[in-house]
Structures are given as C-alpha cells and as structure tokens.
Amino acid sequence: MIQLDAIDKNILNMIQLDFPMEVHPFEELSDRLDISEKELLQRLERLNHEGALRRIGPIINTKKTGGISTLVAIKVPDSKINEIAKRINEHPEVSHNYLRHADYNIWFTLSAPSREHLDHIINTLKNETGYPVIDLPTIRLFKIGVKFNVR
C-alpha cells in the first residue's frame, strides 16, 4: 500500500469529480491546492507510477455512445478458475473481471456495440466451457457515481 500525505489525499479526492477542464488544467488545480504546478505534476507522476492514480481521462457513457453492457456470472470449479478467468479476459469487451466467493464465482462486465455482440460472447463462453452462466443486464439504474473518499 502506498504512503500518502495530506496533500496527496487532497489531490486524489479533488481530481475524481472536480477536474478542471481547461487548456492548462494542472495550473488551475495547483492554484486550488496552493502548491506549485511543478510539485503537483511530480506528485501525479508518483501517484500514477505507484498505481494510486490509474489515469486522468474520460469516463465513457456506453449508453450514450451507442454501446450496451451487461454483468455476467459463471459457476466454475475451483481448479478451473485461472483457466476460465484467462479465457474471459481474452475478450477486449471485458472491462472488469473478479473472483467472488459464491456459487457463481467469476463475475465480469461486458461492453459492446450491440446486444447481439454481447450474446455472441456469452454463448461462446457457455458453449466452450459448459459451465452455467447468468446474464444480468441492468433493468433500472439507481446510481453510478464512483468516487472514492481517500482518507
């Protein structure tokens, strides 16, 4: 786990939802943080290098950009977990993939341009592995607002 001082924590909390969309965004941010831009850029490089900051970029809304996504769970014997997880990851349409302890133990999200495209991937996995799969597309969305409160 990375060591963070108060300024690092401030930076991480500020750049998730309140990143200034300006030609020189880091200058504006450094003013808000009351540190020099040079110091801010050095801190961002370190946070990025150590993995605390994955990237600063667009969080794309698949619905609006014409895409469609779903959550899929598959029931895999323990001895096959690594093999199946790897096979799932080979699809670039997979954005998240986790092991969870439940009957259905591998949980992954798929995003693609069409429902047919999603069905194709799901059916391929079903047929290739023979394991039970449940497809859990969103029916209603109540919240999506990932912000991590770094404390």
Binding site: Q16, H24, R54, A85, L136, F142
Partner: protein
C-alpha cells in the same frame, strides 16, 4: 422516428472529431502544463476547441465525467463488496432510491432474477475494511427492511479497465 434519423442525430452529436478525442484521451492525458497540445496537433484543431468539445460531451452525457480513475486498492480501499438484495418487485423503485442515497454505495442497479439467483438489486460498496462494508449493509438493511441479502467480496481482480471505444 426512423432509424436513419436517429443515427444522423447521434452522428452529429458525437462526430468523428469527438470520437477521436475520446480515443486519444481514454488511456489518460499526460501530466504536463499543456496536456492537450499533441492531441490538438494531431487533430489539426486548437486546444481550446478540444476543451470545449470535452465539456460538450460531458454536458450531453457522452462521458459521465472527465477525471481521475483511482487505484482504490493501492490507496487502501481494499474491501469491495457487491451486496445483492432480494427485493419484492413492487418495492424495487422505493428501495433502490434509498440504497442509492448511501454515500458508500457507488453503484446501484436492478438486474434480472434466475431460478438459482433470486437477488435482483445490486449495490457496490467500497471501503477500507470488510467490517466497514458489513456495517453499511446492515444499515441499508435496517433502512429498507430488506433482510435477504448477500455480500460478495472480490477475492481477486483478474481485469479492470475503463470502458473503451
């Protein structure tokens, strides 16, 4: 409305330049004084136009936000619970709204049930410890009266990327 009109509208709002901006920034902008310079040069437009176009895409919902994605595990937010709830269909609207009101809940969705999967509401809870997550789930259960729920922790992360164009 015909499909043709719909496609045309979409094209106009998310035109080729905007799509290229998303493709050129989706892996992250550089940490420099002028992070949009090389993108502007590549697209042959000004940095101001890039910024305006990103704002436009944000205002119109093509991107949810433009900002940082955090390596939450690296900073110590290692407990990540998917709480799944068995909510009577007629209460989903009301219960979903209550769950979404919890700060620790980052996502809240209704999803279909299956014969061997009765849980129809999904909330993601992220925190520093599993105890924290369990406490949040307990509070949600008290607030909603839903007592049939399960917490599924992520034991391993096989993949995590943003949604890509």
């Amino acid at each position: 409305m015909s499909d043709e009109v719909k496609v045309h509208t979409q094209d106009r709002m998310l035109d080729e330049v905007n799509i290229r901006i998303l493709k050129l920034t989706q892996d992250g902008i550089s940490f420099t004084h002028s992070p949009f310079t090389h993108i502007a040069e590549e697209l042959g437009i000004s940095e101001e136009e890039i910024v305006d176009r990103i704002r436009y895409m944000q205002e119109h919902g093509f991107i949810r936000r433009f900002g940082a994605s955090i390596g939450h595990r690296v900073v110590g937010i290692t407990a990540n619970a998917m709480c799944t709830w068995n909510v009577p269909d007629e209460r989903v609207e009301e219960v979903g709204a209550v769950m979404a009101g919890f700060d620790e809940v980052t996502h809240c969705y209704e999803r279909p049930r299956y014969p061997d999967w009765p849980y129809n509401l999904f909330t993601m809870v992220h925190s520093y410890t599993r105890d924290d997550c369990e406490e949040v789930a307990r509070q949600i259960s008290i607030a909603t009266g839903i007592s049939d729920y399960r917490l599924l922790y992520s034991e391993r992360e096989f993949k995590k990327t943003g949604v890509r164009l």
